[in-house]
Each structure stands twice: as structure tokens, then as C-alpha cells.
């Protein structure tokens, strides 16, 4: 039918190259699109424009040296990657249960804060690309406030490098709980404004609803995880399926969609921001006191005072830095729930101070793969909300 119609009217398909330097492709993806009018007949995705050799760098340095690189995987939610990597290394060293309780809670808080920041960015950027600049800026400000919290904890806004093997770089600052309360109060106002501007906005609904939809089965076959999988109606969240950190001790819901279209993805993310706030508030209420670092000089460096006054401590410090923390031979895969889906670290150690292999399962790699499938038959303009709701993060997808 398609072909005959083309023959009759003697029309040609238009081949379009979109990206990688195109406002909607975030600079890291290229789409080759075959268009019939404005309808997408075929679409191919090319990635790799931000390949930065994450794995090679990890293999090149010591176990601790990998942290800054993990920051830059999903740079929207850096602490999550830090935590995921630290959890994997700790499990590989068999000391997962020795990590202090306070650290576990702080890590949970940082994970959720960064999830909020990630969702703010993602939703904001999506509306920006749909033309609603003002709504975008509301969420930029909300993210800015969230970053203020992250900054007050670890000194960096974006790439935090906060977590250490067996501990954390620093404890929470004084009055953190109060600050969180203030920020959340402000952010809720932004959230409400954003919600009012968009969720019932007819234009926005028309753009998001029934676009980029994927069925439950297809989503599973494409190994979707995270908000996109949940939007398709699959109730899978690593935080619930195999609770890690303090997620087993807090009460929260996972929002699940029904249709798997962009609007459901949007709603799931909006709700997850709310749930993250809940988790953080509970964590702050349950926050135990105590040390934040594991009491083992061979893993976590002793304090600077000790290093400068105690011979043994200095030797540990020296060995930890030069040779790296010694990790026994073995392999491990630890799944965690990143903002985009399952972030799993697969580590292989051959013994010694360097990882033999440090692989991260990139959630948006699998999501981006399905772009062609989701966009086929829809309009050129549908690429934009679909791609935004996938939330491709170059650093994570291309590593």
C-alpha cells in the first residue's frame, strides 16, 4: 500500500541526518531518518560520540581511582554511580555488612537527592525541547536548590566524587536536616507550578500521549529498566526487588504506568521526585549516629592527623595510594537502581590493587537501542519527546 501510493504520486522518501550536533540530540547521538513527508519510515541510531574509555581508565588505575570516572557516567546523578561502584567493590571484598549504618543512610540520601536532580533535569529539558522554556527554568532552579544540598555535603555541585570504598569522603554538614526541609518546601512549589503548567495542558498532553509507546513485552525484550520500564506497566525497581542500602527500612511506593508512552514516563518521573523526598525525610528521621568509615586502615585511609603522627597509619596511607586497596580474586555483579534504570557494576578482580575489568551496565544504552522501534511510523516531531523521555545521558550510554 505504502509503495503503491508512492508510485502513484511519484514521490521520493527524504533521507535526513539528525545530529549529532542538533538541538534535540544532546550532541551525542545521530539519527538517520527516512521520511515520507513527516512520517518516519525507518530510523537508525548511531551513538558513541561521547565514548571516553571508562573501562580502560578503570583498568588502568587503582580501585579507588575509578571513582571520578564513575561520576561522569550518568553525570546528572553522580553520587548514585559512586555508590553503585562502592557497593560492588565492598561486596567483592566481602565487607558489605561491615559498612557503618550511618554511611548506609547517608548514601541512601545522596542517591535520592541525585535522583531528584536527575528527574528535574530530564523533565525540564524535555519541556524545553517541546518549546516551553519557562517551565524548564522552573525545574532548573529546583535542581539548583537540590545541588545546593549536594554541594553542602561534598563540595561539588555536579561531579561529587563523594563515596569511598568502605565509607564516605565526609560526614553530613551541621544543620543538614533543616536545610533539606527548607529546600523541599521550595521545590514543592516549583513542582506544583510545573505540574500546573504542563500536566493538564492540552498541547503538552497531545505531544506526549501515545507517542513513543512501547508494549510491556517489547520493553522487557529490549531490557528496559527504570522509569521507562515502569511506565510500560512492569513493577520492577531494584530498590524493591532486592533492597540495598537503607531501602528496606523505608516506606515508599513505585509509580507504575499503563501505556508505556511518553506521558506515562513523564508521570512516573514526576511521582518519583515525590517518593524520593519521602525516602530522604524518612532516612533523616532514622539517621543513626556513629562513624562514617569502616575501621580498617587497609581499606579506608586513616585520618590525616594519624597519618602524620603514626608510622603504621602512614604506611597504610602510602600503600593504599600507590598500590591501591587490595581486592581478592573474584567477580561480582551488583545491581542498583539509577535514575534511568538498573545500573549494575560487574567487577572482575585478579587480586591486587587494580581492577581487571570494571564494567557498568548502562541503562540508557538499552533504552536508546529501542529508539528506532519506538519512533517507527510516528512523526518527525515525536522523536523529540521520545528521546527526551529516554533520558539519554551520553556519559552513561557511550561510557
Amino acid at each position: 500500500m505504502e509503495n503503491r501510493h508512492q508510485l502513484d504520486l511519484n514521490t521520493e522518501l527524504m533521507v535526513l541526518n539528525m545530529g549529532p550536533s542538533h538541538p534535540a540530540t544532546h550532541g551525542t547521538v545521530r539519527f538517520f531518518i527516512k521520511l515520507d513527508g513527516e512520517k518516519i519510515i525507518h530510523m537508525e541510531t548511531e551513538i558513541g560520540y561521547l565514548h571516553r574509555a571508562f573501562e580502560k581508565h578503570c583498568e588502568d588505575g587503582t580501585w579507588s581511582k575509578a571513582f571520578p570516572y564513575t561520576d561522569r557516567l550518568n553525570y546528572n546523578s553522580a553520587p548514585q554511580n559512586n555508590v553503585a561502584y562502592a557497593l560492588a567493590v565492598e561486596k567483592l571484598m566481602g565487607m558489605a555488612d561491615k559498612v557503618p549504618a550511618r554511611t548506609v543512610y547517608i548514601r541512601t540520601i545522596m542517591c535520592e537527592l541525585s535522583r531528584m536532580a536527575d528527574h528535574y533535569t530530564n523533565l525540564g529539558a524535555a519541556t524545553l525541547e517541546l518549546g516551553a522554556l519557562t517551565a524548564f527554568l522552573y525545574f532548573v532552579e529546583a535542581r539548583e536548590l537540590t545541588w545546593d544540598l549536594i554541594e553542602s555535603v561534598c563540595g561539588a555541585r555536579l561531579t561529587s566524587n563523594y563515596v569511598r570504598i568502605g565509607g564516605l569522603a565526609s560526614d553530613l554538614p551541621e544543620g543538614f536536616a533543616g536545610k533539606v526541609k527548607e529546600v523541599f518546601a521550595k521545590n514543592r512549589v516549583f513542582w506544583d507550578e510545573f505540574d500546573k503548567l504542563l500536566t493538564k495542558n492540552r498541547i503538552f498532553l497531545d505531544r506526549m500521549r501515545d507517542t513513543g509507546a512501547i508494549s510491556r513485552d517489547d520493553a522487557i525484550a529490549y531490557a528496559f529498566t527504570g522509569p521507562c520500564l515502569r511506565a510500560a506497566g512492569v513493577e520492577y525497581d531494584v530498590r524493591k526487588a532486592s533492597p540495598y542500602l537503607a531501602y528496606g527500612n523505608v516506606d515508599f511506593d513505585i509509580p507504575v504506568g499503563t501505556t508505556g508512552d511518553n506521558f506515562d514516563r513523564y508521570l512516573v518521573r514526576m511521582e518519583e521526585i515525590r517518593q524520593s523526598e519521602r525516602i530522604i525525610e524518612q532516612c533523616l528521621a532514622q539517621m543513626p549516629s556513629g562513624p562514617i568509615n569502616i575501621n580498617d586502615a587497609a581499606v579506608r585511609n586513616p585520618s590525616k592527623e594519624e597519618v602524620k603522627s603514626n608510622m603504621a597509619s602512614m604506611i597504610f596511607h602510602f600503600k593504599n595510594t600507590i598500590e591501591g586497596i587490595q581486592v581478592p580474586k573474584g567477580e561480582v555483579y551488583v545491581p542498583t537502581e539509577g535514575s534511568n534504570g538498573e545500573v549494575g557494576f560487574y567487577l572482575v578482580s585478579q587480586g591486587g590493587g587494580k581492577p581487571w575489568k570494571c564494567r557498568v551496565r548502562p541503562p540508557c544504552f538499552a533504552l536508546t537501542q529501542a529508539m528506532g522501534h519506538m519512533c517507527k511510523g510516528s512523526f518527525l516531531a515525536d522523536i523529540i519527546p521520545t528521546f527526551d523521555m529516554i533520558n539519554l545521558i551520553g556519559g552513561e550510554c557511550d561510557r
Binding site: A24, E38, G131, A132, L133
Partner: protein, 370 residues
């Protein structure tokens, strides 16, 4: 009080002077005030909406004038920017397109009255450049010419994105031109004229303003006008995130600025048409035209009173236009954009039938009233 129906024999020289003055006034209002200033207004208004400060750094001898100088710097920058014509482009058309885009919105202003009729020293001044009896038809005709600018620009650029943009312009304008014409038929029926001055005079009574007589027509017209203006939520032809810059992707420097200007001028034209048709033109609510002239005449004497009334009326007209421009900008900065097929659907399946229904209802009501 003089007899308003009395028309003196046309005196050639005052008429020419009057005509020249009006043209100069409209031209300078558009090119001198609105075209450059709207960029600033847009920046500042969006900044206000988004909790920002907005451009305020450009200064001469320490004076920043609320960031107004950024308009000047933009002009200087764009003037000194390389004028670029892509390889494989149709050179003459590439040159021509921006002019075709700018001129219609300026010319359309010819029939829009920005004041009423005044007697000055025995010479009647009619504040409209050309008081055509086909009024609005002329506006439609000229405004649709602007489409050619965009279409030609996209075609001449030899770029897929531009081409897509110009195709979208073509389709969008075609759809909304029809709907726009039909939405206004109601107005023409109510006032019994196409002539904008007549429509203006008919709105002397506050409750006879177009918005009260044709509320549905007004809403439909706003939708069509926004679509004609090619700004968010109808900015498909230049949708940044889809088509980079749409039909003017391959334009740089001054020619790019002209497209920009065309958009702003179109916005002024739309606001002016809105005011002339639906918001009582130059009239102040509850004050009649003659009443103001008489009151001013009482204060300043017949001639200067008429001048004073004229100034007030013109000011009121432009004030209304500015308010409407602000509202149009408010819409532009708060809504996301449609998808292309949704725009078409809105045009053909919602606006057009509603416009037809509006005509029908208006006809019935008129029949009942008479």
C-alpha cells in the same frame, strides 16, 4: 459643534501633507519603535516570567538604560556579520526572501485606523493611511504574501531542514488563512462592513466592541493569528528542537535579522488588527468620539482640542496594541509547541467548523434582532 457630515472640497496640498505624515508616523512606529524594541520587551518580559534579570550589561559611559542598549549592540553585531549564501543556493531568491517576509506586515498597516476623523482648520484628518472599503480583505491578501518569504527562503537555501520548514509554513498558512477569513465573517456581518474605519466607528459604544458581539470569533481569531505569526505554540516552521531554525537556517547577519523583524512586525500587525476589530480601536470605554473632541474643544478651543483628542486617541490605540503584544508574548513563553499534524487538525477540524458555526449563529441572531 460642526456638522460632521459636511465634507470640504479636498484640498490637494494638505491632503498630501497629511498622507505623508501618516505614512512617516506608521513607518517610524513600526521600524523605529516596535521592531527594535520588541526584542528588548521580549527579553525582559521572559526574564520577568522566569525569575531572571535579563540583558542589562551593555553600557555607554556607564548608562545601561535597563538593557535597552542591547538592542543597539545586536543591531551593530548583525550589521557587521558575514553575509552568507550556501553553496547550491538559488542566489537571487535567497536575497529576495527576507524582503518578501518583511514588507507585507508593514504594508498591511495601511488600512488599520489608529484614530478617528478630526477637523483641523477646516481640513478633515482621517487617521488611516488608506481608507479602503475592502479593508480586511486587503490585510488578508497582503499578509498571505508574507508566506512566500518563508517558503522561498526555505526553498532557496538548499538545505533539508529549511525545506521541511518551508513546507510546514506553506501548509500551515494555507490552512489558517482559510480559517482566519471565516472567523472574521461574523464581525463583518455584525458591523455590516469590511472597512476598518467603519468598524472602528461602530465600536464607539463600549458594549458594541467586537469582543462582546463576537466572543467565539475572537477566540478563533486569536488562534489563527498566533498560527499566522509562527510563534510558539505554532512555531513548527522554525521549531528549534526539531528543525534547528527552520526555513531561515541558512541565513546569517542582516537577512536573518530581517526574518526576526518580520516576525515582530507581524505581531504588531496582529495586535493592531485585534484592537481594531475586537477592542474598540482608538475608543476609550464609555467616552464617545465626539464627546472627547467636544470636551477637549472646550478646554483648548476647537482646533487644538481636536489635536489633543487626536493625540489621546492615538495613544489609547497604541496602548491597547502594546497590551496585546504583551499578552501574545505571555502565550509564547508559557506554552509548549504543537506537533505539525495537530496544528493541521486544529485548523481544519476545530477552528474551521467552529468558524462556520459562528457565521451561522451570527446570521440567525441578526435575523432575529432585525
Amino acid at each position: 459643534m460642526f456638522d460632521y457630515t459636511y465634507l470640504p472640497a479636498p484640498n490637494l496640498i494638505p491632503s498630501i501633507v497629511e498622507m505623508m505624515l501618516k505614512i512617516v508616523f506608521i513607518f517610524s512606529m513600526n521600524m523605529g519603535v516596535f521592531a527594535p524594541l520588541l526584542g528588548w520587551v521580549e527579553r525582559k518580559q521572559s526574564a520577568l516570567m522566569q525569575d531572571r534579570i535579563g540583558a542589562n550589561r551593555a553600557e555607554i559611559f556607564g548608562f545601561t538604560v535597563f538593557g535597552l542598549l542591547h538592542t543597539v549592540t545586536d543591531a551593530i553585531k548583525l550589521l557587521t556579520k558575514e553575509d552568507f549564501i550556501p553553496r547550491g543556493a538559488d542566489r537571487p531568491l535567497h536575497y529576495l526572501a527576507p524582503f518578501i517576509a518583511v514588507v507585507p506586515s508593514l504594508v498591511a498597516f495601511a488600512v488599520i485606523p489608529f484614530g478617528g476623523k478630526y477637523m483641523l482648520w477646516g481640513h478633515e484628518v482621517n487617521l488611516v493611511i488608506a481608507d479602503l472599503n475592502v479593508g480586511m480583505l486587503y490585510v488578508f491578501a497582503v499578509a498571505s504574501l508574507a508566506t512566500y518569504g518563508a517558503v522561498i527562503a526555505g526553498w532557496a537555501s538548499n538545505n533539508s531542514w529549511s525545506m521541511l520548514g518551508s513546507m510546514r509554513v506553506g501548509a500551515q498558512m494555507l490552512s489558517y488563512e482559510v480559517a482566519m477569513g471565516l472567523t472574521l465573517v461574523g464581525i463583518f456581518m455584525v458591523y455590516g462592513s469590511l472597512q476598518l474605519t467603519t468598524i472602528g466607528m461602530a465600536q464607539e459604544n463600549f458594549f458594541h466592541w467586537g469582543i462582546f458581539l463576537q466572543p467565539l470569533g475572537f477566540i478563533l481569531f486569536i488562534a489563527c493569528a498566533l498560527a499566522e505569526n509562527k510563534r510558539t505554540p505554532f512555531d513548527m516552521p522554525e521549531a528549534e528542537s526539531e528543525l534547528i531554525a527552520g526555513y531561515f537556517t541558512e541565513y546569517s547577519g542582516l537577512k536573518f535579522a530581517m526574518f526576526w523583524m518580520a516576525e515582530f512586525l507581524e505581531m504588531v500587525t496582529i495586535a493592531a488588527v485585534l484592537v481594531a476589530l475586537f477592542f474598540g480601536g482608538w475608543h476609550i470605554p464609555f467616552i464617545t468620539h465626539q464627546g472627547l473632541i467636544a470636551a477637549m474643544g472646550y478646554l483648548f478651543g476647537a482646533n487644538f482640542g481636536a489635536i489633543a483628542a487626536m493625540i489621546i486617541h492615538v495613544a489609547v490605540f497604541w496602548l491597547k496594541v502594546v497590551v496585546w503584544i504583551m499578552i501574545l508574548m505571555l502565550i509564547r513563553w508559557s506554552l509548549p509547541r504543537f506537533r505539525f499534524d495537530q496544528v493541521m487538525k486544529l485548523g481544519w477540524k476545530i477552528v474551521l467548523p467552529l468558524a462556520l458555526a459562528n457565521i451561522f449563529i451570527t446570521g440567525l441572531v441578526l435575523l432575529a434582532v432585525r
